[in-house]
């Protein structure tokens, strides 16, 4: 088996909202049965920073089964390229490699929470 399932949950118990790198991405996001929420940003975007703060807050309010990741598209251009993301901030909700929702720009927390709960209820 090529993919060794990293025990991500253990990692997430300590820190639910984690910065995603290229390697952890394939292992844990694409292969994960549970939905993952990805925030794409860059280090110099204040808007992305604000959204990141917001996602951190949301991650604490949503069920444990949903994992939150932050992707710096300058640091991890291949992940951005994989999803064809060029603008930040952008939020993707994906499950087993499939994009369930794409949310662009500055958005109120309530809107993001609603999308997440819609998707969560579908599961």
């Amino acid at each position: 088996m090529i993919f060794e399932y990293l025990n991500l949950k253990k990692l997430l118990n300590e820190q639910k909202y984690i910065t995603l790198s290229n390697e952890t991405f394939v292992k844990n996001v694409i292969g994960e049965k549970q939905p993952s929420v990805l925030l794409f940003g860059v280090s110099w975007s204040g808007n992305a920073e604000i959204m990141s703060n917001m996602m951190e807050r949301i991650s604490k309010e949503t069920p444990k089964e949903i994992y939150f990741y932050r992707v710096d598209i300058e640091e991890e251009p291949s992940i951005a390229a994989f999803f064809n993301i060029h603008k930040v901030p952008t939020i993707l909700i994906i499950k087993e490699g499939e994009v369930l929702e794409l949310l662009k720009g500055f958005l109120p927390a309530s809107k993001i929470k609603r999308k997440i709960s819609e998707i969560y209820n579908l599961n």
Binding site: F3, V26, I30, G31, I50, S78, G105, F106, S110
Partner: protein, 840 residues
């Protein structure tokens, strides 16, 4: 013989003569106890020659009689005229034996004399003893008495005869033990001993039938033990033995029958049909239900059954047993402690000595029920399992398979039962199968993580299989657990493809990294906060915190710091984002227009009011109103604004109606409002109303790390806008910007870049010195030190003065009025090198 005592008496003579014929001993006595005469029989009773009878008084013949007691006896004789007493008589050889003495007073001449008829009790006993012995012989009963006080044993002749022990006069308890141990049958001896011990220790009587060896053959004896207690101590044991009969085939059979009954698997119960009383129970029943045999015999059978809980109708039961002679049902027994024990019973009706007996065999179902339950549970689990499970015989046929296997294989259960395992695994030959069977027999576990299995309609699935050998009642089966790996393998393949794609993209991206970076766009064109300076992080955290709360926000900060940008961010992140944010620049409006601008006016409300105007507040309904330069708002309008904030209501100028509004307020100012409040230029109550959540937008000089990135951002923005192709900034230009204090903040920087782009020729952006020399004083023209730089210089100077000494009274820390540790860490943070201050 007539004793020649004192007197001659013709009456006495006559009496003595006539008494010579009597077989009973008779003696005549006077008031003083003198023997007047005796007859022949008495003399021989006492072992004397009649002619030579020696005793002269009753006291010699009758040693227990004293003179005084004789006097009393005489007195009673006078009163009662006749008397019978039991006393003892002493013979010539001085042995004493018990006698009955019947006495009467007679008038013989002038004398009152006593005639006593003496009957030997021993004589009577002898006859009784003879009778007993005869009875014992006929009945075959032997008896003994053990006296623990005297440590003596009395044994009847019959006892010796029956038990075939040579007759001995004085036999001790100890001597009988080895005889009994040897001759009582092994199976009976422990109980015999136990009974004996119980009789001694607790005074319990016992009865036991045991086999006893007589002439090399066992005969059955009934042993009875009757202890006699005094003051809680067993002092004597009376025992009898009786020969019940020689052991015949029949008695053997009975013994075996009894043994079998007591050791039977089933509980056996006899109930008399007439009175429903228990007449027999076997050991098994007593043990299972916790009763003693004696506690049940004679009891009504209902003691054993839980009548209330029964599903059994007892009337039906009675009817059926009479009609059919047997009944088989399941019911519940009750133990002595009240525990319910499910049993399956079979009852027969039999005639026994004129009685109808219901003989019930009951089997305890508790264990069976538990086992049944476990089996059901196990079967259910197996069938519910997602893994396929089957058991094979050594020929490859199926002994068992679960639902998962049946479903996944696509065949019906009947079809599978006729199939062989090789039908499912075309890649496995019969030889392979046999080989692996041998391996299994050696205790190996066979595991294959990827095996192709053929299911119905020629479909192939990939399975993971684990096989073990299982032995059940000497038969061997292979037990296999299969997991369908098709999905997993498919997913793995997909993931593998993803990884390849990602790796390719990664390679591409690395090559095109720079290009890609340039392609990164910001989602919003007009409200982008560009920052990476850690000092600015607090501001962004505040925005995120307050955005979706609906609270009034007051943004403070110098001009050009981008207060509107923050206001927009708050609005966009709030639930009002779908409604507009209306901006009002309170400083830019003519004073006379501000009111109608904010609250609107009705047609004709003032000169020039040709039509109705909707105010900014109304337009911001459900959205946000951004009151920029709030510090410039005239006082009278501050009052009106306060009302709006407090009541959530406005009135159009010239209007009569009050309008209820749902508007969020964000206000901003570059003024020091507190100061304005102090100067009376700003209403204090409005200030507090607005100052719910203040955000201080820091000036650019306090976030210098952002200068570079802002330069890049504005260069991108304006070169695009102005259609210029600028890819670089001259290093000197960048240095100028980095050392400039930006009193006009980001807006100033933006203007500088815009102007520089216009002025730039070619691909390199240059910054004209004149652009960064604007300032309030001449000092601004030279390099203006930052706080950190000032601190660094100051600390270096202090260290120089103290010759590099940090701590102590003459150290730099003391000079700077700082803690030693704080100074050291500050030096580290400011990168102060030893050379710096030693040089100074």
């Amino acid at each position: 013989m007539k004793k020649d005592v004192k007197l001659s008496n013709p009456t006495l003579d006559l009496l003595v003569k006539s008494a010579s014929l009597s077989p009973n001993g008779i003696l005549w006595l006077n008031q003083e106890g003198h023997i007047l005469a005796i007859n022949q029989a008495l003399a021989s009773q006492l072992g004397y020659d009649f002619s030579q009878f020696e005793p002269k008084t009753i006291f010699e013949v009758n040693p227990s009689t004293s003179f005084l007691s004789w006097k009393k006896r005489w007195k009673r004789l006078i009163e009662e005229s006749q008397l019978t007493i039991e006393t003892e008589q002493m013979t010539a050889d001085e042995s004493i034996y018990p006698v009955t003495m019947r006495m009467m007073l007679l008038e013989a001449g002038d004398q009152t004399i006593c005639m006593a008829l003496v009957e030997s009790i021993v004589e009577t006993n002898h006859r009784f003893k003879d009778l007993l012995e005869m009875t014992a012989q006929v009945a075959g009963v032997g008896a003994y008495e053990v006296d623990f006080v005297k440590n003596e044993m009395i044994i009847t002749d019959e006892f010796f005869r029956l038990l075939d022990i040579p007759k001995r006069k004085n036999i001790t308890i100890e001597e009988t033990r080895p005889i009994f141990r040897e001759r009582i049958a092994k199976e009976d001896f422990p109980l015999y001993l136990k009974n004996y011990e119980l009789a001694i220790s607790e005074g319990k009587p016992a009865e036991q039938e045991l086999s006893y060896l007589i002439n090399g053959k066992y005969e059955v004896f009934n042993f009875k033990i009757i202890p006699i207690q005094e003051e809680g101590q067993t002092v004597k044991i009376h025992g009898t033995i009786q020969n019940v009969g020689k052991i015949t085939k029949r008695t053997d059979e009975m013994y075996f029958t009894k043994f079998c009954l007591d050791h039977a698997q089933d509980m056996i119960l006899w109930v008399d049909e007439a009175d429903k009383k228990i007449s027999y129970v076997n050991n098994k029943l007593c043990k299972t239900l916790g009763y003693l045999n004696s506690e049940l015999l004679g009891e009504h059978y209902s003691i054993l059954v839980n009548k209330d809980e029964q599903t059994v109708s007892w009337d039906d039961f009675d009817e059926k047993i009479v009609e059919e002679g047997e009944v088989e049902i399941e019911m519940n027994f009750l133990t002595k402690k009240g525990k319910v024990i499910p049993v399956s019973t079979s009852t027969d009706r039999l005639d026994f000595r004129g009685k109808k007996i219901n003989c019930t065999f009951a089997r305890n179902l508790s264990k069976k029920k538990k086992r049944d339950q476990l089996i059901t549970m196990a079967k259910h689990s197996l069938d519910q399992a997602t893994d396929m499970i089957y058991w094979l015989r050594s020929d490859g046929s199926f002994r068992y398979f679960n639902d998962a296997f049946a479903i996944r294989s696509g065949y019906t259960r009947k079809e599978i039962e006729k199939m062989n395992i090789l039908d499912f695994f075309p890649s496995i030959t019969l030889e392979d199968f046999q080989k692996s069977w041998e391996k299994l027999k050696e205790g190996e576990t066979i595991y294959n993580h990827e095996l192709e299995m053929l299911v119905k309609k020629g479909k192939r699935i990939i399975i993971e299989i684990t096989v073990n050998l299982v032995k059940v009642e000497n038969k061997e089966y292979s037990s296999s657990v299969l997991r369908d790996m098709t999905d997993r393998i498919q997913k793995e393949t997909e993931l593998r493809e993803y990884l390849i794609e990602i790796e390719m993209l990664k390679a591409n991206a690395e090559a095109e990294n720079i290009m890609l970076k340039e392609e990164i766009e910001l989602e919003s064109n007009f409200s982008n906060i560009i920052t990476r300076d850690p000092n600015y992080k607090k501001v962004m955290r505040q925005i995120e915190q307050v955005a979706d709360t609906d609270a009034t926000v007051l943004i403070l900060g110098e001009t050009g710091t981008g207060k509107e940008l923050l206001a927009r961010a708050v609005h966009q992140l709030s639930d009002r984002a779908d409604y507009p944010m209306i901006k009002v620049n309170c400083g830019a409006l003519p004073e006379n227009l501000i009111e109608s601008e904010l609250f609107g006016h009705e047609k004709g409300s003032f000169t020039g009011a040709h039509q109705q105007k909707i105010g900014k507040f109304e337009r911001a309904e459900k959205g946000t109103i951004f009151l920029d330069e709030i510090g410039e708002l005239p006082l009278d309008l501050q009052t009106q604004l306060l009302r709006v904030l407090q009541e959530g209501e406005i009135e159009r100028v010239g209007g009569l109606k009050t309008l209820k509004l749902d508007v969020r307020v964000i206000a901003a100012t570059n003024r020091n409002l507190e100061e304005q409040v102090a100067n009376g230029k700003f209403r204090e109550d409005l200030y507090y109303r607005l100052n719910v959540f203040p955000i201080y937008n820091i000036p650019l000089r306090e976030r210098r790390e952002d200068i570079k990135i802002l330069v890049k951002h504005f260069t991108d923005k304006y070169s695009k806008k102005l259609n210029k192709e600028i890819t670089e900034i001259s290093p000197s230009g960048m240095n100028k910007l980095l050392s400039y204090s930006f009193p006009g903040n980001v807006r100033e920087l933006e203007n500088i870049i815009e102007r520089s782009i216009i002025l730039s020729k070619g691909k390199v952006l240059t910054i004209d010195s004149s652009l960064t020399k604007r300032g309030k004083s001449a000092a601004a023209n030279t390099k203006f030190n930052t706080m950190e730089e000032m601190q660094k210089e100051h600390i270096i100077e202090a260290l120089g003065r103290c010759k590099g000494k940090i701590s102590g009274q003459d150290g730099a820390a003391a000079l700077l009025d700082m803690n030693d540790k704080t100074l050291t860490s500050r030096m580290k943070k400011l990168n102060i090198d030893k050379r710096d201050y030693l040089k100074a």
